[in-house]
Symmetry: C2
Subunit: 284 residues, 2 copies
């Protein structure tokens, strides 16, 4: 996949090549694939709505008629990177009936006892659905590693466990899109300040956010490992420059749209005789 | 609640009064509370988006900070009455993160063994969420009764079981809005014909729909029983004239909006010291 050309769309441009990853080389304010202004970016996002909804409905219809395919978006990123914003503004363009959104918090004791992938499996999208994970099993090699929540041999084993799991998903018809929403530490500071300045945003602020912020370099290191070690051809990572919210929302949605186009779900053929049914209906 | 005045909003106008119900007295093409055209109705719905989203976010925020309240919309109606359309166009105005949508199909054997309310309880919205049921526990006194899926004493007992269950929901902070999307048999015929005429809609058509259609009077009788026997002050039914799709979507959303206004969720007060946090953040 590292061989993808720019002509292959935004998907090809933002795809993380295989091999070592250095996030400091990615500009968090860049807008690859989009040359317009912020206002134009917002309009461009809205304009994706009709097509992305159409593909979503085709995929959903396919799932209703025996198709097994689904799509799963994994959203990862530092606090305030905009996982919620992507869902509100990007996923919000689609029919909520075809979405399955799960926000993963710290696992409960009962969840921990079942192994880190158990709760993830519970939340997988069914046939025809678009699943969205706000955080994911990657937290088990991110905060778990940075905060020493488990011993190093435990988190170290998880990369392969994740690769096996994601290969299983692909084999089961799940198209996986993993997004790293990439912001700079300065942008995070600005966004946390904004939350503190606005009483209607206080509920989004957690004093623990500052503690996490102080571990920024350790998180970057953990992301480097995750993006390098779990980046197979069927489980790609995309780094989304996310200092500009409008670009982030447009880019995430565009990559989804390009993916849906390539899946190319078709309206199911009637599994009944249309003429017969028209007659039956007419007689009622 | 039967005493509600028109001045109490659409909620008061469309609320089913207590006592016997006769659906034939409700005009399925009426547009109570709205005097404009179809185009104006569509614009009016879009214009509800900002306010309903704002209330939704407040409710969500409250739920994140210890609040226990939630809202649950129950959508019932004959085939093609537009349960899916309401979700797409009405719920689609809101942030999908704050929605929990469940579509109930025929229960599986495992679900049946657990009693008819078990799967309903699994699907209840958490604190701060807006739940939407596309069909619900009412199917257990509708198709179950019409189709003799269980013996009469079994379905007959369920009305009280539903009342007890819904009283429990209210006591737990769930505001319940039960909508009957009311279409005429002629409108249903038109909509089924449209599905047969359009290959992109064949997947929505099921030959069983015609069989169900032939049981229309039995379903009306079953709805009468449900709307009369399960219509307590804290578990109200609203009859939504639904031959006009645009009115249906606007009315369902308006009743939700009026309900959210009356719940009046407030932005949570910070549970940390804002000045301290600003200083901590500034030092990073």
């Amino acid at each position: 996949m590292a061989k993808q050309k720019k002509s292959e769309g935004l998907l090809g441009q933002l795809r993380v090549p295989s091999g070592p990853v250095d996030l400091t080389k990615y500009d968090t304010r860049a807008t690859p694939g989009f040359s317009g202004t912020k206002e134009e970016g917002k309009v461009a996002l809205e304009e994706l709505g009709a097509e992305v909804s159409d593909w979503q409905e085709r995929l959903f219809a396919e799932g209703r008629k025996g198709g097994q395919r689904s799509v799963l978006l994994v959203l990862q990123g530092m606090d305030t990177s905009g996982k919620g914003g992507v869902i509100r503004h990007g996923a919000g363009l689609m029919d909520p009936q075809g979405l399955r959104i799960t926000s993963f918090k710290a696992p409960t004791p009962a969840e921990k006892r079942r192994g880190f992938l158990w709760r993830i499996r519970q939340a997988l999208p069914g046939p025809g659905m678009i699943g969205i994970f706000d955080r994911s099993h990657y937290e088990d090699v991110l905060i778990a590693r940075v905060r020493n929540l488990v011993a190093p041999p435990v988190w170290n084993r998880r990369y392969e466990q994740i690769n096996d799991f994601e290969a299983e998903l692909a084999a089961n018809g799940v198209t996986l899109l993993k997004y790293f929403l990439h912001i700079s530490p300065e942008e995070q500071k600005t966004r946390l300040e904004a939350r503190l300045d606005d009483p209607t945003k206080h509920w989004k602020y957690n004093p623990g956010d500052v503690d996490e912020r102080e571990l920024w370099p350790a998180y970057v290191e953990a992301y480097h490992a995750a993006l390098e070690r779990c980046n197979g051809p069927e489980a790609p990572w995309y780094v989304i420059p996310s200092d500009r919210k409008w670009y982030r929302n447009w880019a995430v949605t565009t990559i989804l749209l390009e993916t849906l186009r390539s899946l190319d779900p078709q309206w199911p053929i009637a599994d009944f005789d249309v003429t017969t049914e028209k007659k039956r209906l007419a007689s009622t």
